[in-house]
Chain length 165, copies 4
Amino acid sequence: MPAIRVFVTGGTFDKQYNELTGTLAFKDTHVPEMLRLGRCRVDVAVRTLMMIDSLEMSDSDRALIVEQCRQSPEPRIVITHGTDTMVETALALGGAFAPDGGRTIVLTGAMVPYAFGSSDGLFNLGSALSFVQVLPAGVYIAMNGRCFAWDRVRKNRESGVFEGD
Amino acid sequence: MPAIRVFVTGGTFDKQYNELTGTLAFKDTHVPEMLRLGRCRVDVAVRTLMMIDSLEMSDSDRALIVEQCRQSPEPRIVITHGTDTMVETALALGGAFAPDGGRTIVLTGAMVPYAFGSSDGLFNLGSALSFVQVLPAGVYIAMNGRCFAWDRVRKNRESGVFEGD
Amino acid sequence: MPAIRVFVTGGTFDKQYNELTGTLAFKDTHVPEMLRLGRCRVDVAVRTLMMIDSLEMSDSDRALIVEQCRQSPEPRIVITHGTDTMVETALALGGAFAPDGGRTIVLTGAMVPYAFGSSDGLFNLGSALSFVQVLPAGVYIAMNGRCFAWDRVRKNRESGVFEGD
Amino acid sequence: MPAIRVFVTGGTFDKQYNELTGTLAFKDTHVPEMLRLGRCRVDVAVRTLMMIDSLEMSDSDRALIVEQCRQSPEPRIVITHGTDTMVETALALGGAFAPDGGRTIVLTGAMVPYAFGSSDGLFNLGSALSFVQVLPAGVYIAMNGRCFAWDRVRKNRESGVFEGD
């Protein structure tokens, strides 16, 4: 059994530049390439659940994420997610998994797409994969070096920064 | 007081290409730039102790590192270090700080210089800064997503990979 | 007098990722940074005329570009431009400057923003700055290693590639 | 027949970081990858003649390069080359090919390896591929936006910059 399950849902992390349309769009996830770049030596299994902008994530999308976490044989789970509604998904997961739910779930994302040279994605992925290995059961958001409990975090819309209570 | 102290000692992390000589050399540390790229929101204070290849690190260099950790008012410390003798420095620190020494010290580095596009440095820095926030007092090596206790790790010279017991 | 005048008009070349809105937008031009990266030793003077998507370029914008080329004391001119209407601007310039107009004008751009790691921008800028130094008076489009006369080029909308007659 | 022949000889262009030894070394050439990144639409055929530091280039190596240029069915040739002895190879080629030799040969290289994020290689490759298409028969060095005739160029060892007479 892999040590860590990674569920990919899209978000800024995975946005690409479409040369023909001149717009940002989703194609395949960059997570496996990022794990190679980080020369990740932890046994990680990646599954793409959806590939969407988190502003377009519906209640049924969130129900699917909760269900996939419930069925995951790996108790340590990282979810890559758009930042705009990451807190909402954390709330859905936090409500579903009580602290004794036996799962450590860490949501992470990026302020800038990985495909851009200036992305924080690789830093955040290294961070999330580390927090998930040592934190007790629970649901967390790991962004830009910090880690927040699911019920004590919000995204500041003006600064774009995640803040605790 | 900053949440985390980062001591820079050089190593592959900080090697640069010298255009005039065509060789790799040290100039300034890239750690502050890496923290900006990772949009790090943890309060981190960086101090450069030395800027050397870890193969050239002497006993007195290691004594200096131990002493700086002892004097650090911040109990959570990340040390960037060349991979070749990272284990030796971890042993020096582990011997000096008993588990009840009140300090969580994480050594990290990179297989490829940060200045190269293909570096694992940003991933490792994100990882080390995360482990150091949640691990109990002790000395650790964090490389490529894994974290090892100071007395249970070695570098495999042939594969270049850090391995546990 | 500089050897080459560069007029910046925006286009894919200079699109950036806006972290707060999650969209592509213009801020400052990347051309000076690109000249530094290319360690450009040709004497180049850069002026930003506008910073727009070329789909939004109006007739009066094109008249401004023609006028700026006419007034430029430097007879060798590179114009960075969005690819969508680069051919239209080349036509406007070609009509204004007869072959004996004493000016060599090369339009160039990029299929992917320079701020993306996978951009062709640096290659194209090196190419355009070279063609402009050796081609006779006239108006040209230089993209992806090729160079086309202004009245013998079109952009293939389906493949995104510039083609000659 | 391809429009342009590219001969690869190594040099800074193609130096890579060897993770196991921590030194710079040659493996495969990056030229095909660079042509892809530049979305090069010129028909180019690449052949690796050698993969060496130009300080180690011998007279017989240079004789091989001259002979390969003589046998090339393509009259337009770009040679990637280390900067330290690029002038010497240009002299060997210039002596072998009189201006009416029917060949346009452009040597180029890089101050920083392509594998580094800060390389000038892509800029120089775009430049060399452009100069070679329009310059008359002869031997040239194209570096950092400038182009020099083979008998009117030297490398300034202190600044690392190519200069004309």
